[in-house]
């Protein structure tokens, strides 16, 4: 029975993400897990996904296996349709050519605002400091639909993030537009190790759409520090398929640097 197959949280997030990609669309890919999501998706589901990286690789067909630390290296940018630079990469997203963006996050709030800068204390004297925006702010600002991949740990889902590194819906409906951000953009999906969230059309608040098969909505929601909305029908997400796991473990990440053990 496939459900008895063991898989890691990360493997599930990646598989979920890969299934959500749309063929023949463009995606601005952030560092780390999003890279692997795009690779798995391109391999199994969306051959005509156009990946774009902030360091100027447009449409690469990355060489597998994925080697950690080669963002920008020959394997990662292999067979791109264009090699360019960062200002051009962000021009593509700013002028509307990027359908999706995919980012990680340390912390997220009900409006999909992302913190990847610091936790606890103040900006000047934080308790924990992360790398900051990188290009995440641009991705979350410019792309039509931003997807966020985040571990389903309660402390990561907070009523108010310590710092808005990359904008979600800010304080609610209309706030992005009032801030001057491009119209009709914003967070689209939050992909966790237990569930999938969207955002309510009207309130722009995070809404539980689906849970990993075997979990209940209550189990998923209880550990979050804010209560998300719950869809009328919460669907079930199948665990990683044998195919997904084989490609992930054998072709993409055989040394399990990203997917873990």
């Amino acid at each position: 029975m496939p459900d008895t197959v063991q898989f890691t949280d990360t493997e599930f997030m990646i598989a979920q993400g890969a299934r959500l990609l749309e063929n023949g669309k463009t995606i601005f890919v952030g560092w780390g897990i999003p890279q692997v999501v795009a690779m798995l998706g391109q391999k199994l589901y969306v051959p005509d996904l156009l990946q774009l990286f902030e360091f100027g690789a447009i449409g690469p067909q990355p060489v597998l296996p994925f080697v950690r630390g080669t963002m920008g290296g020959p394997q990662n940018v292999y067979r791109s349709v264009q090699w360019s630079n960062m200002n051009w990469a962000f021009a593509y997203s700013a002028s509307g050519y990027m359908d999706y963006g995919m980012l990680g996050a340390a912390q997220i709030d009900p409006y999909g605002n992302i913190n990847s800068t610091f936790l606890g204390g103040t900006f000047e004297h934080p308790e924990r400091r992360f790398p900051g925006s990188g290009g995440g702010n641009q991705v979350a600002s410019h792309c039509w639909k931003t997807m966020i991949v985040i571990k389903h740990e309660g402390r990561r889902f907070v009523p108010k993030v310590d710092f808005i590194t990359s904008p979600g819906y800010l304080t609610g409906p209309g706030a992005r537009e009032r801030a001057g951000l491009p119209a009709e953009t914003g967070p689209h999906r939050v992909i966790t190790s237990k569930a999938l969230f969207g955002f309510d059309e009207t309130t722009k608040r995070m809404k539980l759409l689906a849970v990993l098969r075997g979990l209940s909505p209550e189990e998923v929601v209880k550990e979050m520090a804010f209560k998300p909305l719950i869809a009328d029908t919460v669907t079930e997400i199948p665990p990683p398929t044998a195919d997904e796991l084989r490609v992930l473990r054998e072709e993409i990440d055989p040394s399990r640097i990203i997917i873990g053990h």
Partner: protein, 323 residues
């Protein structure tokens, strides 16, 4: 005065366009003179305590790692780093006491640098990768700022010095980021000539922008080639000679990172960098790999070795696109 809706109010590095222009007029050489220097000479001559520095690409791919090690060896002080897409560089520059301020970008990779911020060892400002790229483009274009439609609505604004104004064409808020004209730009390239014409194969972050926008440009190059190579294929020129102040012939200059189509990343050495999570480990690393060797060539002989270099070259089998 232009009405500003919102603005950050922290220190930022800014050189009025007219001041930068005068520097370019008076102190940048247009004559094709040989600019070949050793890394030691170039860093001694062109990097000064307190300087604002930027570099293209990362410690893992085509970063100017030999030049950064030379900066550390010379114990430069109070540097301000424009850390766009930075990985281990910021850890080393902060851990060695060289850098005291970082414009983030991407703060860096590994366990050390976040702690350094928490301990107040280094002051961070949040411009984002895109913000720094835009700032360098403004610096290159000789304008005081560029407008962007990002940074808006985020908390980066308060800890940078971007400003929000109403766009006079649409009435909507738009973010203005000030031009960035660094003191020094380090660029590691595949090929350069003795005058400073330089080319990269592959993508880059902001190579031409930063070369135009910076007061001093130090190019380190895997190979030195005839000027004719550039004139025969001018579309491949990344940076023309008159932007460049020093050319340092530096084979394996991106080590331990990869130089696409030349040599692969040394993952074991990168592991050493990743493991640094304390000042003790930092000092041990700096001592062993930087202070204890006189220069990059001695580093290659004593700390890398011909066998390892051969192995890394062997692995760099993807050459398509890189020529």
């Amino acid at each position: 005065m232009t009405r500003i809706r919102k603005e950050g109010n922290v220190e930022y590095h800014f050189v009025p366009p007219d001041d930068f222009r005068k520097f370019v007029r008076d102190r940048k050489e247009r004559k094709p003179l040989s600019k070949i220097l050793t890394a030691r000479e170039a860093v001694m001559k062109f990097v000064t305590d307190g300087d604002y520095i930027v570099y293209d690409f990362s410690s893992l791919t085509r970063g100017p790692q030999a030049l950064i090690r030379e900066v550390i060896r010379q114990k430069k002080k109070d540097l301000w780093i424009g850390a766009e897409f930075t990985l281990h560089e910021s850890s080393l520059l902060v851990g060695s006491g060289c850098a005291s301020r970082i414009d983030v970008g991407f703060l860096g990779y590994g366990n050390y640098i976040g702690q350094a911020v928490c301990k107040g060892r280094v002051k961070a400002f949040e411009w984002t990768n895109g913000g720094l790229a835009h700032r360098l483009l403004a610096g290159a274009r000789g304008v005081p700022f560029l407008p962007t439609r990002d940074l808006l609505g985020s908390d980066n604004l308060a800890v940078s010095s971007a400003k929000i104004i109403e766009d006079p064409f649409t009435g909507s808020p738009v973010c203005l980021v000030p031009a960035l004209n660094p003191d020094v730009f380090f660029l590691h390239v595949h090929q350069a000539d003795i005058y400073g014409n330089a080319r990269i194969f592959g993508t880059n972050l902001f190579a031409l922008e930063a070369a135009m926008a910076s007061h001093r440009v130090i190019v380190s190059a895997e190979e030195i080639v005839e000027t004719d190579e550039f004139r025969k294929d001018p579309m491949r020129t990344t940076v023309p000679y008159f932007l460049v102040d020093a050319v340092v012939h530096t084979p394996f200059g991106a080590y331990p990172g990869a130089m696409p189509a030349r040599y692969d990343i040394d993952l074991s050495h990168v592991g050493r960098l990743n493991d640094i999570d304390s000042d003790e480990k930092m000092q041990t690393y700096l001592q062993e790999f930087i202070y204890d060797v006189a220069d990059h060539e001695e580093f290659l002989d004593l700390k890398v070795g011909a066998r390892k270099m051969k192995e890394l070259r062997f692995k760099a089998t993807i050459i398509e696109g890189y020529r």
